[in-house]
Amino acid sequence: MRLDFSSEKPIYLQLAEAIEDDILKGIYEEESQVASTTELAVTLRINPATAGKGLNLLVDEKILYKKRGVGMFVSVGAREMILKKRREGFYQSFVVKLLEEARKLNIPVEEVIAMIERGRGK
C-alpha cells in the first residue's frame, strides 16, 4: 500500500481507496480482518487519527465492519459495493477524460475505438 503525499487528495481518502483496492485485488477477502489503525499509522508513518478517519469512512459505507475489541473486518458483499461505486466513477474519470484528451490531440473517435480494440488484443 502506497500513499502519495503530494497528491491533492487528502491522505485519509487515499488510505480508504488503497484498502478498497486491496479488497478488489483479493488481498483482503470478505470476512477477513484488515490492518488496525495502529498498524496502518505505523507502517505508513501517518497520524493515527488520519488512519482512523480512513477506516471509519469505509465503516460508514458498510464496506468494513467493527467487531468490538477485535478489530475491523471486510463485510460480505464489500467487493460488489466497491465495484458498483467505482464503475460509476469510471465513466467520469476515464471515458470523459479520454475523449477530452483525444480531442486535444486531434484523434477522431473512430481511431480511439480502434485503439481500444488494439489494447484489448494485447
Partner: protein
C-alpha cells in the same frame, strides 16, 4: 489526559522581547508540531512550559495548576531538550535508571527494547555517544517516560534517514498504544507533516496560527505548468511564493479548491496538486 493552558505569556531577555503575549490551549492526546524559524521563540516557549525559566508576564497551567515551582504539574511533562543535560560520565543504563526515579511510570523493559532496536549500547557513557546516538538516547527516555505530555525539541538531530524513520514509527506506535499529548519542534517539516494532527506556527515571538494540518493544507494548493498559463490562472487570486524554471512555474495559491477552479485548470492545461506543509510554512514565516 492533560491540558496545557498558556495565558498572556511574555518573556523578555534584557531589552529583547522573545515571546509577546502568547495565548495557547494545548488539548489532550494530540500530536502537535511547533514550527518556527531559528530564533522565533520555540525553545523559549518549551522552556516556559516546563518551568526551566520564568515568564516576564502571564501564566502557564497544566490541568489547571500553575507550572511554576509545582512538582505535581511538572511530573506530567517529559521534556526532551535539544541540549544534552545528562552528566557526561553516566552510562546509558544509569540514565534509564535515573529516569525511573523521576518518572514512576517509566517503562524500563520498553526502553531496553528500544535501545536494542536502535543499536544503542547501554554500557556506553553519555560523553562517548555521537550526536545521533545522543538524540536517540534522549528520545528513548522520552518515549518510555509514560508522562501524559511529552515534548520533543529537535528529536531527530543527527539521526540518519533509517533511524529517523524508526523514530517516527516508534513515536506513532507509542502514541497509538498510550495516547498522550505530544509536542514536536522540528525543522524537518516535510518528514513530520503526516505525523502531526495540529501545527502551531510561531514567528518573531507571536503565534501566527494554530490549526489542524488537514484544514491548513486544505486552504492552499499548488498550481504548476507553463508560466503564461499559470499566470492567467492566478489572475485575481491570492498567492504566496513560487518557483520558476525556464518556462515552468509552480505557485502556492491561498484558497479552497472549487469545481470551477478544477475546470479552469483543465482548460488552461495547468496541474493542481497538494501544497507541501514546508512550502506553506515558508510563505507564512517569510518576510
Amino acid at each position: 489526559m492533560s491540558t496545557i493552558a498558556i495565558k498572556g505569556i511574555c518573556k523578555d531577555y534584557g531589552t529583547t522581547r522573545a515571546l509577546d503575549n502568547i495565548d495557547l490551549e494545548i488539548e489532550p492526546d494530540k500530536i502537535y508540531g511547533l514550527l518556527g524559524r531559528n530564533g522565533a521563540g520555540k525553545t523559549t516557549l518549551l522552556n516556559l512550559i516546563t518551568n526551566r525559566i520564568f515568564p516576564t508576564a502571564g501564566e502557564i497551567a497544566i490541568d489547571g495548576e500553575s507550572v511554576v515551582e509545582n512538582d505535581r504539574a511538572l511530573s506530567k511533562v517529559f521534556y526532551m531538550t535539544e541540549a544534552n543535560l545528562y552528566p557526561p560520565g553516566l552510562r546509558v543504563r544509569e540514565v534509564l535508571g535515573w529516569s525511573k526515579e523521576f518518572y514512576p511510570g517509566f517503562d524500563m523493559p520498553y526502553a531496553l527494547w528500544l535501545c536494542e532496536q536502535f543499536g544503542l549500547k547501554t554500557g556506553k557513557r553519555v560523553k562517548e555517544l555521537s550526536t545521533g546516538y545522543g538524540s536517540i538516547m534522549k528520545a528513548i527516555v522520552a518515549l518510555a517516560s509514560n508522562a501524559p505530555i511529552v515534548v520533543f525539541d529537535e528529536p531527530v538531530l543527527g539521526l540518519d534517514a533509517n533511524h529517523r524513520q524508526m523514530f517516527y514509527r516508534a513515536l506513532i506506535a507509542n502514541y497509538s498504544q498510550h495516547p498522550k499529548t505530544i509536542i514536536i519542534s522540528s525543522h524537518l517539516i516535510e518528514e513530520i507533516a503526516e505525523v502531526l494532527e495540529e501545527v502551531i506556527i510561531i514567528k518573531d515571538g507571536s503565534i501566527v496560527l494554530k490549526q489542524s494540518v488537514e484544514e491548513l493544507l486544505g486552504q492552499a494548493y499548488t498550481v504548476s505548468g507553463e508560466a503564461a498559463q499559470v499566470d492567467s490562472y492566478l489572475a485575481g487570486r491570492k498567492f504566496a511564493g513560487g518557483e520558476e524554471l525556464g518556462k515552468f512555474k509552480a505557485v502556492t495559491v491561498l484558497g479552497v479548491l472549487t469545481e470551477g477552479d478544477r475546470a479552469l485548470a483543465q482548460k488552461l492545461d495547468v496541474e493542481l496538486s497538494r501544497v507541501e506543509l514546508q512550502k506553506l510554512f515558508i510563505s507564512l514565516t517569510n518576510s
